[in-house]
């Protein structure tokens, strides 16, 4: 029998075995971190009471309860309305901005681009708060408009306003995909159209935009999906009028019933995932399709930018208007609010100027710890996270076996679980999995949840770095006799170093911005600014919220400045 299974080669068995177990350990840990919390939610949703209670039974009572609740259906309808509206607003605008920035001779466009991307780097909680203090019933811009024109013709506490704000602040998500598709589009197909006699506008309509349709479709699904994830915005802007969406409905369930109704929350969570997971799978298919389309492209090369002529002013006004509404208004509102004690009609800025908000933050150890934790989770935690993602990346790099495909799909799973639900699931894991319970009140719990929630995003960064390493470089290493492990350490890793540092910066910004994942994990010891903002906002501590929000913006701003300084690509 031994003769039937000859050893295929005489490679050092120890190294191979070690590598194999290292790889399986990585895959096993990843699977546990992703599937553990999710299966806990599924299990909990099928119980009649919280899973730590004695008198629970298995069944679909929880689903029956929420399906009988009219608020649930109202919230679901609102979610669909808002998500659809966001697609209608964000996709055309994002595509248009991308075309202007990539293909035309608009002046100052390299300088404008970071501003277009800013809304995607600021926490939605912070942005929403910014809109309240800037454009709410007694916001700065509202009061100024009343003083100047006698009327401020807007209100922000409606579904329409929420949809518009959410749509506008998600334009960068479309912009990123549309502009990278345009970048990859060979200019020869456009030049062919111009030689055939097409004007710049005709080129855009007949050739460029149809050719990036797969990317636009992909971002439409993405935006629709993000619409179901919205939490901060409907929490802040929907609350005054009692407008609920699915995520806020889940969040308010506890208040509504007065008891920890984990089984109902789990059931709502499963309903949300049942909508988002298919969307994630559709996105994956669309992305593959978009790449196939890109392979038919012509030769990408130097091209003369399309001259806009007098249209340049309109394009310029469009971009400035967009930046004003999505960046200047909310951020200036927060910046002002952080330095005043109160604001309203008839109040003069010079009389209410104060640093009390920051003093309060400084005097309260919880808030100081929140700032420290936020910085730590972004820097040290971010580095550890990138290290973990890299390990997972290497476990699948240039291996086309079942395990690689398993990891491919595995990393998509957290993408479908909104941060709020993931945080809840991790809370349960830490509470009721005894070996982990001592870590519950340490920042580790927060870090683990963050890392799993952003797994798909991070893996995309890592694998795009890995893919840039030409396979010949690694094959050359193997042909001179290096093992896989040695090649990874001594060839691939050094080559992707700058990509990893870039990923670290992006992960830093994402972690500074994150808020919903921490909502349920917030406890003495695990404070982070994002989750603190949610809890303080619920408590009505506007001054502290403003000060903390400004500090949060500054932290993200530092990351953004460093990224721009070192030329880190803000998108893949």
């Amino acid at each position: 029998m031994a003769a039937l299974a000859p050893s295929p080669d005489h490679a050092p068995q120890g190294a191979l075995a070690g590598l194999f177990s290292w790889r399986s350990l990585t895959i096993l840990l990843t699977a546990a971190a992703v599937l553990g919390p999710l299966s806990l939610i599924i299990y909990q949703s099928l119980l009649s009471a919280p899973f730590f209670e004695a008198n629970k039974s298995v069944g679909v009572d929880a689903y029956r309860f929420i399906f009988a609740d009219s608020d649930f259906w109202k919230a679901a309808l609102n979610s669909v309305l808002i998500a659809t509206g966001m697609v209608v607003i964000a996709v055309p605008l994002g595509g248009l901005l991308a075309f202007i920035m990539e293909r035309t001779n608009l002046p100052f466009k390299r300088w404008l681009e970071p501003f277009i991307l800013v809304p995607s780097f600021v926490s939605p909680m912070v942005l929403s708060f910014g809109y309240v203090v800037a454009a709410g019933p007694v916001g700065f811009y509202t009061v100024w408009a009343q003083d100047l024109f006698g009327v401020a013709p807007w209100g922000i506490y409606s579904i329409l306003a929420m949809t518009i704000i959410a749509g506008l602040t998600h334009v960068p998500n479309v912009y990123i995909y549309a502009s990278s598709a345009l970048k990859n589009l060979g200019s020869d197909v456009e030049e062919a159209a111009r030689s055939a006699g097409a004007s710049p506008f005709r080129v855009a309509v007949s050739v460029s935009l149809p050719l990036i349709m797969p990317s636009l479709l992909f971002s439409a699904v993405l935006i629709f999906f993000l619409g179901f994830e919205l939490f901060g915005l409907p929490l802040v802007l929907g609350d005054p009028e009692g407008i609920l969406v699915l995520s806020t409905y889940l969040y308010k369930l506890t208040n509504k019933l007065g008891t920890p109704s984990y089984h109902l929350m789990a059931a709502v969570a499963i309903c949300i995932v049942a909508i988002t997971f298919p969307l994630v799978l559709i996105q994956r298919r669309l992305l593959v399709g978009a790449r196939k389309y890109a392979t038919i492209k012509g030769k990408a090369g130097r091209m003369r930018e399309l001259p806009l002529g007098p249209w340049a002013w309109i394009a310029f006004a469009l971009i400035l208007g967009f930046v004003f509404v999505t960046v200047v208004v909310p951020l200036s509102g927060i910046a002002l609010r952080a330095f005043v004690s109160s604001w309203g009609f008839g109040v003069k800025l010079s009389e209410v100027w104060t640093l009390d908000g920051f003093r309060e933050v400084w005097n309260e150890p919880t808030h100081k710890r929140a700032i420290l934790n936020t910085v730590l989770i972004g820097t040290v935690g971010g580095a550890l996270t990138v290290a973990c993602y890299t390990a997972i990346g290497f476990a699948t790099h240039r291996r086309n076996d079942g395990w690689s495909r398993f990891i491919d799909y595995l990393v998509l799973v957290p993408r479908a679980v909104p941060g709020l639900l993931a945080g809840l699931a991790f809370l349960w894991v830490f509470l009721f999995f005894p070996p982990l319970t001592p870590l519950r009140t340490t920042i580790f719990s927060m870090w683990l949840a963050y890392s799993v929630v952003w797994l798909a995003y991070g893996m995309r960064l890592i694998s795009s770095s890995l893919m840039q390493v030409s396979p010949e470089l690694e094959e050359a290493g193997r042909s001179v006799g290096a093992s896989r492990g040695l090649i990874s350490r001594s060839i691939t890793l050094p080559l992707i170093r700058s990509g990893l540092i870039g990923s670290w910066l992006l992960v830093f910004m994402i972690f500074e911005r994150e808020y919903s994942t921490g909502v349920y994990l917030l406890a003495p010891g695990t404070e982070v600014i994002g989750a603190e903002l949610v809890s303080l906002w619920q408590g009505g501590a506007i001054d502290i919220v403003a000060a903390l929000a400004l500090i949060n913006i500054v932290l993200v701003g530092i990351g953004l400045a460093i990224a721009l300084r070192f030329g880190v690509k803000l998108r893949d």
Partner: protein
């Protein structure tokens, strides 16, 4: 009257000059090839004519109309120049069918839809693509894609058709067929065409006139026969055809002839303008002009045979003469040892 006229065209990318004063004419019904090594500026010249590159100086006229004038700030955009352009990559629009690709230029010219149909059909059938109108570009073979690209550029009857390496994306065998086909098509349709190529064989086979570009200037221009048989510079001689090259010193000049002397050999050849008595010189002869001689004679060398290669229709022999390698064609294999090689005076150029 020239259909296309370029005068003293200069173009630079930043500090890097690409075209350094190029002038050329293209007459009606004429095929002109822009030939040159990569980096010589031939594609840039074509793209500047198309309006896809911005020259710094000079003029470009199509017919009587000036489309670019560096001094007068005339710069007609690409879409208004009414030229047909065939891309190296073909640049077919992947989201449009073959018919729609061809029809696009007519649609932009507001041609009535019935006429569009008939003209597209006619263009496709002329290029033997009649049955492929409903297909998408990715469903076609390379040769078919190339013909669609040509049909797309021809359908609106532009005065000049520009082709950027039209054959380079085809495989070797198909390329030879396409070359003959394209030449026939151009003659039949009486097109005025400017063709960029880096392949001298292709340039000679397809064109009435060749412009040889080197480093942003025109090195020499003329008919294929002129270019091949009477190159004026070493570069032109070397670029056209396969050659033997002999380095030596010009010891004597007598009339139009020069005596080139190397290590252990002396040859007479035709003196080029640049050759000076007493200076170093380079001798050059086309491979096929070297003759295997039976014995000593005028301009005969006696090199050592290194090896022989069978090419099918002939043999190629490789000889060593000191440090110089010589190659010659012959009908049969040769015996080892020294051989007599005649370098005919009239076919040997001394630069």
């Amino acid at each position: 009257m020239a259909e296309l006229s370029v005068q003293d065209l200069h173009l630079a990318y930043g500090d890097n000059p690409i075209l350094k004063g190029v002038s050329m004419d293209l007459n009606r019904g004429e095929v002109v090839s822009l030939l040159g090594p990569s980096g010589s500026g031939k594609t840039t010249l074509l793209r500047a004519v198309a309006g896809l590159e911005a020259p710094n100086r000079g003029t470009i006229s199509i017919g009587a109309k000036k489309v670019f004038d560096g001094a007068g700030a005339v710069d007609i955009p690409a879409e208004a120049r009414n030229l047909g352009l065939v891309f190296q990559s073909y640049a077919l629009w992947p989201h449009k069918t073959v018919s729609d690709n061809v029809a696009f230029g007519l649609k932009l010219r507001k041609v009535a839809s019935g006429e569009i149909d008939s003209r597209v059909k006619k263009a496709l059938s002329e290029l033997s693509l009649g049955h492929l109108g409903a297909r998408f570009p990715h469903q076609l073979s390379g040769g078919q894609q190339q013909r669609v690209a040509i049909a797309r550029a021809l359908v609106y009857n532009p005065p000049v058709i520009l082709m950027d390496e039209p054959l380079s994306n085809l495989d070797a065998k198909l390329r030879e067929e396409a070359r003959a086909w394209l030449r026939t098509l151009i003659l039949e349709m009486q097109l005025s065409a400017l063709v960029v190529t880096h392949d001298q064989g292709e340039a000679m086979a397809m064109s009435d006139r060749i412009l040889l570009l080197n480093n942003g200037v025109i090195e020499q221009q003329g008919t294929p026969q002129d270019m091949y048989n009477t190159p004026r510079t070493l570069f032109a001689a070397d670029f056209m055809g396969s050659n033997n090259r002999l380095e030596g010193r010009i010891e004597e000049v007598r009339g139009g002839d020069a005596k080139l002397v190397g290590e252990g050999w002396t040859l007479w050849g035709r003196k080029a303008e640049s050759a000076r008595q007493g200076e170093k010189g380079t001798g050059m002869i086309r491979l096929e002009r070297v003759r295997l001689a039976g014995g000593p004679g005028d301009n005969v060398l006696q090199p050592e045979l290194a090896t022989s290669m069978f090419l099918g229709d002939k043999w190629e022999h490789i000889f060593h003469l000191g440090n110089t390698t010589l190659r010659a064609h012959g009908p049969e294999a040769l015996a080892k040892g020294r051989q007599w090689l005649e370098i005919p005076r009239a076919d040997f150029w001394v630069f």
